[in-house]
Symmetry: C2
Subunit: 340 residues, 2 copies
């Protein structure tokens, strides 16, 4: 399906800035002949790269100057108050003004969330936006939210996450009625805390394709398309998974590098190891959606490379051209009768 | 150091019962010439195995009959009320009566916790016992608690978990002042919920070797010896890690099994893959301690094999012979002046 979509790209965000964001924009434009981008950043930093890109993809590349950059470790409140002309804020403003259908940034997560919420506002019925990301599973992939935007959640918040997650999967993965699981723990005596129990009741009556409770391992088993949890739990499980994957990769490297013989073995096994690596390549899953806003905003990992950042742009374009915002709005409106 | 310790073993618990527990007891006795065991279970189920063991390790094997067995999926309250003569309860009773220094069971976690708490009671100053387990890390291993016994925790509970975890590591790993980390999330704007923030203040004043906040990936980096979290978060992170490890192992198997060529490659790489497998072998980490009780109780994974169950017995013996209970008691008493 052709995507007549325009994505505003915060070219300054992330660990690498324009060195990664501009080549990623180029790859995106090459894959989507109908899409365009607006490159946002300091003119002197974008200059050369942006000009080359504009020449190559005539009429599909705009440059929007922004004089400031939000630092990766800057306090979100500070970024909001003092940097009105940051590349991040200008990119989000382009979505608000209808000049872009989506914004992508690899910058400071807290600042991007604060700015997006302030500029775009939340959708009707949504109390708080959430961060939704994709993790690989045995069956394909699982969307998990919230991953850290909301630490203390009410049952109603978890219900809203369920709606936002389901609509995100519907838009981006083209699954009509995605299944939604509620993250809980297995111990019979103490099935979850009160908030989760209440959220289960709300989700059951929501009209969503609610599967019921799932446990941590169900994320990677692919038991449901969406897994809902509060931002504290979500952030811990994401970081824990990253840590475990890194440890295993390191152990594997160490064992294969231990001696000349094992290095030779690694050489023999290389094609297989590479296929394995590709299958769990975290770059393929890059691009967390900030959902619940009146506009599409996607956060790339700060350390993403060109391929990784390109995936984040893809995801943003896919969400925007498949009406993520409208889907959430409609669904929330339909629920007004059921849950208030 | 010789371990003059007696371990009561619930031989009926777990997926395999005496077929695993008795050979594991044998392996344990072989490794510890000064230790003894009390095998608890239905006489007809233990008969043959126990008799052989008693003959082989003269004077170091006792059999304690118990007429009932707690089912793996039985409601803990039911197990408590109706099965006064379950192998699990009889094993824990042996600890209470001073006939055994520790009890080990691979049975129903909820029932084991309920029975242990009812029979042994908690230590002075401890509101709730916790479940502490070991995970591998780049530097060695990390003890994490609570893993599911306590879903809603106060800051004081988390402080107590810190004390229990540190004393467990001191006893079992012989580390004098183990470092303790408080599991939190990294987002600057929203550094944790109120309970975690308060717990951080308490831990800072506790006299423990408190490192400060850690994130999920620090568990596998081995940033601290102990990581403290509430039971909901702990259970989710444990299950998530299990799920991820299983998925990766499956992908690796699938890739190496894909074709004749890749099968050949696997054959070449086998020695290295086996070393890798050994290094992350979850059986080596089997045996979760139920800490905070007036006695040592260790829970083995229900599906543990002989090697895995043996590790759980080791851990119980190590904790008991290194005064886990006394260490926690002393430490809690020392804190009375500081934190009340």
């Amino acid at each position: 399906m052709p995507m007549k979509v325009t994505v505003a790209i915060d070219c300054m965000g992330g660990d690498h800035g324009p060195a990664v964001t501009i080549p990623a924009a180029e790859a995106f434009l090459r894959h989507h002949p109908d899409a365009s981008v607006i490159l946002v950043g300091r003119p002197e930093a974008l200059e050369a790269g942006a000009a080359t890109l504009a020449a190559r993809f005539s009429g599909r590349v705009l440059v929007q100057p922004a004089s400031e950059v939000v630092a990766m470790d800057e306090a979100p409140a500070n970024a909001m108050r003092t940097k009105r002309d940051s590349s991040m804020r200008v990119a989000v403003n382009l979505v608000k003004d209808g000049q872009a259908h989506a914004a992508v940034s690899a910058g400071n997560t807290g600042a991007l969330m604060a700015i997006s919420r302030f500029v775009l506002k939340t959708l009707p019925g949504i109390d708080r936006p959430a961060i939704a990301s994709v993790l690989p599973s045995i069956k394909g992939q699982t969307y998990v939210l919230d991953l850290g935007a909301n630490v203390d959640c009410t049952p109603e918040h978890l219900l809203q996450f369920g709606v936002m997650g389901a609509m995100l999967v519907a838009a981006v993965e083209h699954i009509e009625r995605p299944s939604v699981g509620l993250l809980n723990i297995g111990e019979e005596a103490i099935k979850g805390n009160d908030v989760v129990k209440q959220a289960g009741l709300l989700l059951r009556d929501s009209g969503l394709n609610f599967y019921g409770n799932v446990e941590g391992d169900d994320i990677f088993k692919g038991t449901t398309d969406v897994v809902v949890c509060d931002g504290f739990v979500g952030n811990v499980l994401l970081k824990t998974s990253e840590g475990l994957a890194q440890m295993l990769a390191r152990f594997l490297r160490e064992e294969f590098g231990r001696s000349l013989v094992s290095k030779l073995m690694a050489l023999f096994a290389l094609p297989v190891l590479n296929r394995f690596k590709h299958r769990v390549d975290h770059r393929r899953y890059n691009g967390a959606a900030l959902v619940g806003l009146r506009g599409v905003v996607v956060k790339s990992h700060g350390s993403a490379d060109v391929f990784g950042f390109e995936q984040a742009i893809h995801r943003a374009a896919e969400a925007a051209s498949n009406d993520l915002v409208e889907r959430i709005t409609t669904r929330m409106a339909a629920m007004q009768g059921v849950v208030t």
